[in-house]
């Protein structure tokens, strides 16, 4: 589904991704872990089309199509979803209105008729239950005045509404207490299917107790330096990142 080959990207003059390779197949859940500053969030940004990053080398294909050529909205319409590490507050735009517009734009691109108000409401109610979200949140401005946990829950709620085929979760667990973490993870797990893939970016193994990945990768200095199964995550939890850093830095000398 997603093929990243030798991807390099920089912000201003700073090289952040340096020849990253990753393949994500249909229905797979990949966890990307790594120390701070290794390039995890940059990868999420490049995949979703944020223009503050310049791709200097390599390619990304999504279902055989060149992803880097597409605008953020085209990527979203083709089923890519980024759950933001820092969801943006948009005063004056209600959650419901925002999601209805987004959903209908995506439907339009697929040649589907827009959902009418009633069907939209039914869908929204169903998905809200998934993330145990209060009804009043849909009439509030997008993320405005939301707590950290509410914002993250809102990201997963949007994901549930838009039903993407490839979801990228950028440190969705950061700043969540254990209950919020469970709710967010339940939301994600409910969406898992043989057709849908996930890239879960996280700093801690904790999230992976709830969202069990098929593969775990370690990102360090802009490259994937180690890949394994969920056992790798346990090893990282126990031993930290230093042994990997040492291994990589030693190999370079």
């Amino acid at each position: 589904m997603l093929k990243i080959k030798n991807l390099s990207a920089r912000v201003e003059e700073k090289e952040i991704l340096r020849g990253l390779n990753l393949e994500v197949g249909k229905g797979e859940v990949h966890a990307i872990m790594g120390p701070n500053g290794s390039g995890k969030s940059t990868l999420a940004s490049v995949l979703s089309g944020r223009d503050t990053f310049e791709v200097t080398d390599g390619s990304v294909t999504y279902n055989g199509e060149d992803l880097l050529d597409l605008s953020p909205e085209e990527r979203a319409r083709k089923g890519i979803f980024l759950a933001f590490q820092y969801p943006v507050e948009i005063p004056g735009v209600t959650n419901a209105n925002f999601l209805k517009t987004a959903l209908n734009e995506i439907r339009k691109s697929k040649g589907l008729a827009p959902l009418d108000a009633k069907d939209f409401l039914i869908l929204m109610r169903e998905k809200m239950k998934l993330v145990e979200m209060d009804k009043s949140m849909t009439q509030r401005s997008v993320n405005e005045g939301f707590s950290g946990g509410e914002k993250k829950r809102n990201e997963v709620f949007q994901m549930a509404m838009l039903e993407p085929t490839l979801s990228i979760l950028d440190e969705t667990d950061s700043g969540l207490d254990i209950d919020a973490l469970r709710i967010v993870a339940n939301g994600v797990n409910a969406l898992r299917s043989p057709e849908r893939s996930f890239v879960v970016i996280t700093h801690y193994q904790r999230l992976l107790d709830y969202i069990v990945p098929d593969f775990v990768h370690v990102l360090y200095k802009g490259r994937i330096v180690k890949s394994g199964t969920k056992e790798l995550a346990f090893e990282l939890e126990e031993k930290g990142y230093d042994w990997i850093k040492e291994e990589v830095d030693a190999a370079k000398v």
Binding site: S71, E73, R77, V88
Partner: protein, 433 residues
């Protein structure tokens, strides 16, 4: 001292002489004094501090004249009834009341709505007309005062609540270079309330010049909501002055919404002359092309324990220019004043520009005042967020702009008017995409 273009053009002198045949002697004297003052002041130039960014030279290049005939039909006016049909309606065609299109008969007891010229003898008119809006230092108020004749008179008696909105609907056009000097006076007596909508429209693309002055008097414990909606074509010169005088415990909400015009200048002066007064000043201007929208506000806190809250927002596209000048005076006696002012602008193009100047002059020591002005582009992070959910770039821009503007429109209590304005801004922003 004054440049020659500022003096009274001959065609205006003729117009003045005709107009000044009507009304009581005291009014004739006021007109004469105002004319004399205008001859001294002249049409303001950009050398004048208060007109620094607003150049009226294009106005002085054309010869304007009052329109002679009424040509509108009811069907034509219906589209402009932006506050719905259930209103007390005065239609002014090129500044002159069109009685056939208006409906202000059979008003409830205690409510007077009609033509100013029919009410020159009314005690409230004698007492208040031209007594609030001073023309001493305001050339354009002097020019209007010299021509007092047309306009609306609204009087709401003590303890009376006017349930129906009062809609003053002005339409210009039908012939080239029309001129109008409407003069409005509203008195809300003690414990009364009313809602007034003043809307301005064009018929066709002809150039016109409207120089309007409105005096609003709020007696103790009265409540008035005033909506000034400017929807004229891009060849209109609109110079307005609204002077509001508030007494103790009164509440005045004013919304100044500008969607059109070539050169628009709105002066809004509010004098808070009593305790426990609330004044809410809301403004929204959405401009494009080469138009200029200039809002000058003055909130004068003369007495203690009052609250004024001012929010003006602008969306400027094309080569349009915006000016916001907001003065707040807090006089020595006005202790425990709360005065807030905020001006926020979005520039949609590289060629649009904004000049914002907040001015606070505080002479009391126990007050809470704040002001702020921002001018910038749409939030890039918010744009990306919307786009990452599948919303196209242009739609995302419109989305954010509408949300920005709705913040002001949501303060209008009349639902019909609010929805109509939201539709219009929606249409406009989605069309320009």
């Amino acid at each position: 001292m004054n440049t020659t273009i500022g003096t009274m053009p001959e065609y205006l002198t003729r117009y003045f002489e005709n107009n000044n045949l009507i009304g009581p002697a005291s009014l004739k004297q006021i007109r004469k004094d105002a004319l004399a003052r205008f001859e001294v002041l002249g049409i303001p130039t950009t050398k004048h501090e208060e007109w620094k960014y607003t150049n009226l030279a294009p106005l002085t290049r054309s010869e304007f004249h009052p329109a002679l005939y009424h040509t509108l039909s009811t069907e034509v006016v219906v589209n402009d009834m932006i506050a719905g049909k259930e209103v007390i309606l005065l239609v002014f065609e090129n500044g002159r009341l069109n009685k056939e299109l208006s409906s202000f008969d059979n008003l409830p007891k205690g409510i007077t709505v009609g033509e100013l010229g029919d009410n020159f003898d009314h005690p409230a008119v004698v007492k208040n007309l031209a007594k609030h809006a001073s023309f001493e230092n305001e050339a354009m108020v002097a020019l209007n005062t010299a021509h007092i004749f047309d306009g609306a008179f609204i009087h709401v008696a003590e303890n009376v609540h006017c349930e129906k909105p009062i809609h003053l609907l002005y339409i210009s056009g039908g012939e080239e270079n029309t001129l109008a000097f409407p003069r409005n006076l509203m008195i809300a007596e003690k414990n009364s309330s009313a809602k007034v909508i003043e809307s301005f429209h064009s018929r066709g693309n002809e150039s016109s010049f409207i120089n309007i002055v409105t005096e609003v008097v709020l007696e103790e414990n009265s409540n008035v909501e005033w909506s000034k909606i400017q929807l004229e074509n891009s060849n209109t010169f609109h110079i307005s002055h609204t002077e509001c005088s508030q007494s103790a415990n009164s509440n005045f909400d004013i919304h100044t919404i500008t969607f059109g015009g070539k050169i628009v200048r709105n002066n809004l002066h509010i004098v808070l002359d009593g305790k426990n007064i609330t004044s809410n000043l809301n403004g929204l201007y959405v401009s494009n092309g080469d138009s200029l929208v200039d809002n000058h506000t003055l909130v004068d806190h003369a007495m203690p324990n009052c609250l004024s809250n001012e929010l003006y927002k602008g969306v400027l596209d094309g080569k349009s220019k915006g000016v916001f000048n907001g003065k707040i005076f807090v006089r020595k006696d006005a202790q425990k004043t709360n005065a807030y002012q905020s001006n926020k602008n979005i520039l949609m193009s590289d060629e649009a520009s904004m000049n914002a100047k907040p001015q606070l002059e505080i002479f009391a020591d126990d007050v809470k005042c704040s002001h702020g002005a921002t001018t910038g582009q749409l939030d890039k992070e918010a744009l990306f967020y919307l786009r990452s959910r599948g919303i196209g770039e242009e739609a995302a821009r419109a989305f954010l702009t509408i949300a920005f503007a709705d913040d002001v429109l949501n303060r209008i209590s009349n639902e019909t008017l609010r929805d109509e304005l939201k539709n219009r801004i929606n249409e406009r922003l989605n069309k320009s995409n």
